[in-house]
Symmetry: C2
Subunit: 71 residues, 2 copies
């Protein structure tokens, strides 16, 4: 599967797990709410720096966001 798709799905999954809205999550990650929205809809590629910001905000290990079936 495509890495962007996997990443998008995992962001959405972990974000919902934490009960965060896109808006609240975007603020935690220091990113823009429309950007998070675009990521979850697979409309964008992402730079590694922001991958890390997102992982931090979700409080998960970075590599978990690239595993297809990471629970």
């Amino acid at each position: 599967m495509d890495i962007i798709k996997v990443f998008s799905k995992n962001v959405k999954k972990y974000r919902n797990k934490k009960g965060l809205s896109q808006e609240a999550f975007a603020e935690r990650a220091g990113l823009h709410r429309t950007y998070i929205s675009a990521i979850e809809r697979e409309k964008r590629s992402i730079a590694l720096e922001n991958v890390q910001k997102i992982a931090d905000a979700l409080e998960v290990e970075t590599y978990l966001l690239f595993i297809e079936d990471s629970g």
Copy 2:
């Protein structure tokens, strides 16, 4: 550790494991040799699309490139 640092180190490690030069590897990945060079020296951020290209060229699972001590 910083994700770019981890990624860089892993690219270098897996590339050397395969006995590929930066030049040969760059060609496999469809990227420029100086670009690979810059990545390995942590001089660049990278978008997910190229992360996948690199993982493909190295024939490793993408997530392995983000694990600090991934053999």
